[in-house]
Assembly symmetry: C2
Homo-oligomer: 196 residues x 2
DNA sequence: CAACGTTAATGAACAGTGTTCAATAATGGT
DNA sequence: ACCATTATTGAACACTGTTCATTAACGTTG
């Protein structure tokens, strides 16, 4: 029997994901087509489908790497006070998104993923929330820090989601970073007021 | 010279928009195709393009009507205290979206609209924010009520945007309505604490 | 080394998509 | 009755994701 050869299989897969990122950043979601992707790595559409189950799978892999990158940045946040830490986390999230608008956009708009999400996906998100819950817990709120962290994340997400599709200015002239700061400060204020 | 006849032109346009809504609700954004729309109103794709400049224009018209409907619901909110009013506004917004997930989803995901948005679009959104700013102003915040209203809307939007694409449960098990309530209460708490 | 079995790459093909446009049909005014 | 104007049609174009038989390349085995 002959063994699989897979000579530059992994390398090609890596190049393909990189090319997908580039296509997204340069031309938005519609620019990420099977043929454009094939041309970018000098092959044919058929080969793309040999590496990935579908174009959705390509997008999911780009998403995965983005989540991993974000997690790394989040882990590099080491601040003393809970307040500074929460502000730094918000800044990381917002600036990460501003740097990768189109990838982030595709993250939310991508074709509906069938059925359940992969475990690593859920675990990654769970980890991010845990890292927000930690400084929140340090503020000694009355309620569950985890639930408050989720709420804070959603507030910032509302800002980021609109900024990613370049429609934030339909609602406000305020800058994404300022808005994110305001959301963090408000959460802290509410906790200190003994309301949460 | 012969005059334009436009006999049931407007009627057909109306039917088309209704059909578009139905297609969206039943099958999501991908179900809204020129041919499906044509078949739904018993004509051909060409005729659709006689009524609308593009499929984007159809989507924009659906959006417009959704915004008008939302404005009507918002105007029907008549509560005494600012707090009750803000809570009622959040409820209207959330339940409106839950009833029209797919239309609302298309609202944010739709193909990038070229250049500037129409004036009625901006005016409609502006009116909505003004209706939030009013009860906020009644709470006598230190800062600009308008800016706070924008921030509150964004918080609720973060919840709604994720719920519309059925991905809210990636982040939390909390219900959209509860989350919206929490956002409103937190804003009120922060204002009463003299922080905003 | 030659032959085999396995694997990967290819590119044509299929069923869709939005959109355009010449040809056709229908109408209201003269 | 005729004609200018308009609306409708449906074929066509350039795309899209996706599939799959064919072809080419390789590692292992006899």
């Amino acid at each position: 029997m002959a063994r699989p050869r897979r000579y530059d299989h992994d390398a090609l897969r890596g190049q393909t994901v990189e090319a997908a990122k580039r296509l997204l950043e340069e031309g938005g979601p519609t620019a990420l087509t099977a043929r454009a992707l094939a041309k970018a790595v000098r092959t044919t559409p058929g080969t793309i489908y040999n590496l990935f189950d579908s174009m959705s799978a390509v997008l999911q892999e780009v998403n995965r790497q983005a989540l991993v990158d974000l997690a790394m940045l989040v882990d590099s946040v080491r601040d003393t006070s809970p307040r500074d830490r929460l502000l730094a986390l918000a800044e990381v999230y917002v600036s990460f998104m501003l740097d990768r608008r189109e990838v982030w956009r595709a993250f939310f708009e991508g074709p509906r993923i069938t059925g359940a999400f992969p475990d690593w996906y859920l675990a990654q998100i769970d980890g991010l929330i845990a890292r927000i819950a930690q400084p929140v817990a340090a503020l000694k709120p009355k309620g569950d820090p985890r639930l408050l962290a989720e709420q804070l994340l959603l507030s910032v997400h509302g800002i980021v989601a609109l900024a990613a599709i370049e429609r934030l200015d339909l609602i406000t002239k305020q800058k994404p970073m300022d808005l994110a700061h305001a959301a963090v400060e408000r959460m802290i204020t509410a906790i200190n007021a003994g309301a949460e």
